[in-house]
Subunit: 586 residues, 2 copies
């Protein structure tokens, strides 16, 4: 009899004979019968040992413990109405066991598989046990489905999956590289790629036209909650396209993916917002549009008020912005608002001003600085209603955006304004080409050095780099950057100007990117693309905020594998072959 | 007007307006007209500039050179019968250009793209130009199609694509590891995985049941023609299965793949041969079954002959084997046979004895040692006909197999016996579990330490390891090992006996594999799988014998990337952060 999965049992008839294998989730002795919850990757089902059916099977079942692997044959039976378990899909039926074989015994595991309170370090050390949890198995299945969906869609669109090297070259631009010493070439190193950016551009130069890859990338950076030293990207590049082509392609991709994974019909085209507008309206470059609480700019208005903090900030080139929190004035105590102030201070604000709108006008410590006319003007300007709470920050533009943008997200969470079943995709366009690094007093590439400037801004590359906008676009989902891309430079001279603007000497440029510049001279097609953070995409679709939940064998925050015990020391002979010594501080 | 691919032109009607973009393959001026062969990734088409259609376009076309990227609009026209080019798919038509735009100019490339005589080093340095060759583009497309086919098949069979770490742990078993120094953990290293073997077994222990991955693996070994430092594997593992299940799964996989890629109906089940029989009949463990020329064992017969070399070898435990080459006696001169002898000497044979069968009996230097009766006996025994050439090696078993096995393959090539359109899949089963390493006087795992012995041979693990057969199977295609797998050990005690047989001390075993042994104690399902050399699979399907042809950006034989110039020196600061020094010999 062929073994079937638990999930397949419900397709069978009552009294049908079946064969199952799996793990013992739980065993209970009850009135001479033994009940076992049998688990496989598709679900859980109750199996029953009855002495009237098989005394032998019952005897074997008596020695069975949690996490034993067993193989059973039996028949499907309806449960009594009173015994129905509504928590599991197979809850209306059970298996009357005729024959059991213990395939593997199990010691008592170091923790109960379903116990969510066990520390993550213990779970990671016994990751193979942790992965027995249906939640993690389902997340890995979702990851698989997303991959299948992407492969299928891009394949049908004529994209070619091309693998690019993992043993690649170190380039000082960008994050810190993982290095791999070469045995054959003394004193030389490979680097693990931070992205296949240059390779995919070279594929365009080779006439491949449509490339994609779901590929591992590497960054040796200190890890944050949603970062891992190795991560997976969906990487796409196409020739003879403009920004509109790439955006339309990705809207088709995401529409298909959401249909495949979530059974949802997403409407395309997606909303678009420029970088400047996103910052002005949401304070961040990856707005969560599932709720309002927009930032409102009252800088002009502030120039005419008596409140000195607002007036002087407005007059000295700063911004005064506010968020109206509807109908929450009576819900926020002084102490609650103090907590919000502490929060915005993390993001650099010196303070958080506030007023409550009551049917007798504004209340709060700064209300007195606004006379009736100004209060009316403000109400009108910001569309403030009774019982609204209004929160203000007056500061430099950067601080106003960071503090109120993050406060906006916090308020939405606190107030339960977020519909977790909503997926808001959004394009953020017209990014600045450069970021100014105050510490190093130089410009760096906001995206990467291969992003093209907008045609009409090319003249300003040397004269006013801060004003140059890029042919760059990010796709944002529910407040997370899902992916980012650009139309690339495909002209040698323009690429050279770009490197100059970034402070490269001609020698540095040629040493690092000479081959790419030369490649541009042999017939280069216009091209552009995008890269998605695949792990983050899975995270958002799975509804978790722990990146380790979507990776089978993740690293800890200190980049260790607790199960394998990696990294680990290696032998002197291995180092000698690689021409390196340890340089350990005593 | 939407741009279309060259391959799409033939679906359109004569006189239809179209828009194409691509590279200039060739330009010819002819009687006031200009002809350009336009190339994109789908094909080549002739486009014509005629002053009566557009003087302006003609003028622009005059400045166009090879490898310029151009964009043209025009109409489809039938060529005159005399002008038809039967070498290209679009040879019956041409495009009358109305409008041309030069998108990118091109310098004269360092070599003519189609010139196959250019050295590989130059091609690899300019790989982006080399990849413009339709042959390479088609190979990468085939690689993509194979991947798509595998993803689709295994997805439909319920296998889950799970990514395993690239930053992994160094283990002394197997080939040399690529190491990655850790920045966070002083003096410690990650290793790039040689295969995801242990991870996939842990996934089985976690109840994933059906796993697969198309994954990069790494070996820091000196490279042979068909080896690369990073290579791709199709990796498959399944729980609750035996050898028959895995073989049947893979026969379904290959049947589907061959249908998808080659449009061929392959018959399953595939033929099977045991390792011992393969060695006896073909001399090698990966037989090419597209031709005969089997090895024939005449050891017993040799004991009764007067020819001392045969007789003494046979009597002292060696083998005497021969290959009958039908109807070639008159085609092979003494000199030709001398060359064959030089060839078998490479494989350790001391000499190559031979006889030719003529209508007057055997001829050749050793014929005199066989009287008429013995000649008749031999003819009968080996089914020798007139004008057959018979080639003998008498030596130790290992030498006889290696020399005649390789000679068999050489003869088939020389004689043109191989049908290149035939795909002979073959299972080789019943492998020995151990290999004896004469130099180190110890046993090593023939497959890897996790392969299970056959139940009936378990007793011999300690007493007669050389006799233990494994639950291991290789899939062979046309004389190449395409993949190999086994049913794994899933019992702690058996795995410990295996490590002991391999000479591990208990401490070494626990340090390296303690976590795996512990994992076996928490409920381990029986499991097994297979891994395919993906690059080699593509190579065989593409009909090339150069592994670099199937990899977009391959390394040279000295593991260098000539285009990127990798590996390369890195900065002192980078090394310092990784706690390593260079150890360069002066």
């Amino acid at each position: 009899m062929t073994r079937i999965f638990v999930s397949e049992v419900i397709e069978k008839d009552i009294n049908e004979s079946i064969h199952l294998s799996g793990w013992v989730q739980r065993r209970r002795d009850l009135g001479g019968l033994i009940f076992i919850d049998l688990r496989d990757r598709t679900g859980i089902i109750q199996i029953v040992f009855n002495p009237e059916v098989s005394e032998k099977a019952l005897n074997i079942a008596e020695d069975v413990r949690s996490e034993f692997v067993i193989d059973v044959k039996g028949t499907i039976a309806q449960r009594d109405e009173s015994q129905v378990n509504h928590n599991i899909e197979t809850g209306k039926i059970e298996i009357i066991v005729e024959d059991i074989e213990v395939i593997s015994k199990a010691k008592t595991p170091p923790f109960h598989i379903q116990d969510e309170t066990v520390t993550e370090d213990v779970r990671l050390k016994y990751r193979y046990l942790d992965l027995r949890r249906p939640k993690l198995q389902n997340t890995l299945k979702l990851r698989h489905q997303l991959k299948q969906s992407v492969h299928s869609f891009l394949g049908h669109e004529g994209f070619i999956d091309v693998e690019t090297p993992v043993l690649s070259k170190s380039t000082p631009e960008g994050a810190r590289d993982y290095l791999v010493p070469s045995r054959v070439h003394e004193g030389e190193f490979f680097a693990l790629p931070q992205s296949p950016q240059i390779y995919k551009q070279l594929l365009m130069l080779s006439g491949m036209e449509k490339y994609y890859q779901i590929v591992k990338c590497f960054r040796d950076e200190d890890l944050r909650a949603d970062r891992q030293p190795e991560f997976t990207q969906i990487d796409i590049e196409q020739s003879f396209v403009d920004q509109e082509d790439i955006m339309a392609l990705n809207e088709r991709l995401i529409t298909q993916v959401m249909k495949d994974i979530k059974g949802m019909d997403i409407t395309a085209p997606f909303p678009r917002i420029t970088y400047d507008d996103a910052m002005a309206k949401y304070g961040v470059d990856k707005p969560d549009t599932r709720f309002d609480l927009h930032l409102q700019d009252i800088t002009e208005f502030s120039k005419s008020v008596d409140f000195k903090v607002f007036k002087s900030t407005a007059e000295s080139g700063g911004l005064v912005n506010a968020i109206v929190v509807p109908d929450q004035a009576d819900a926020y105590s002084r102490k609650d608002i103090d907590k919000l102030e502490s929060f915005v201070k993390i993001h650099g604000a010196k303070g958080l001003a506030w007023m409550k709108s009551t049917d007798e006008g504004f209340s709060g410590p700064i209300a007195k600085f606004f006379d009736d006319d100004k209060q009316d003007e403000l109400k009108h300007l910001m569309n403030i209603n009774d019982n609204d709470l209004v929160l203000f920050v007056a500061d430099k533009k950067k601080v106003v955006h960071a503090s109120l943008g993050n406060l906006r997200n916090k308020l939405a969470k606190d107030l339960g304004l977020i519909d977790k079943n909503q997926y808001n995709f959004l394009w953020v366009t017209d990014w600045p080409l450069f970021e100014y690094d105050e510490e190093e007093d130089r410009y760096s590439a906001a995206h990467h050095p291969f992003t093209s400037p907008k045609k009409e801004d090319e003249d300003k590359l040397e004269t006013a780099p801060e004003e140059v906008r890029a042919n760059a676009y990010d796709i944002v989902l529910n407040g997370y950057e899902l992916g980012g891309g650009s139309i690339r430079i495909h002209d040698k001279e323009l690429q050279e100007r770009m490197f100059r603007a970034l402070g490269f000497t001609d020698q540095e440029r040629d040493e690092q990117f000479g081959f790419l510049l030369e490649a541009f001279t042999y017939g280069a097609p216009p091209h552009g693309g995008i890269a998605y953070g695949f792990d983050r995409f899975v995270m958002l679709l799975a509804g978790t905020d722990n990146i380790r939940d979507v990776i089978a064998f993740p690293k800890t925050a200190s980049a260790s594998d607790l199960m394998m015990n990696a990294p680990s020391p290696v032998s002197e002979d291995q180092l000698k072959e690689l021409h390196i010594d340890m340089d350990i501080e005593e």
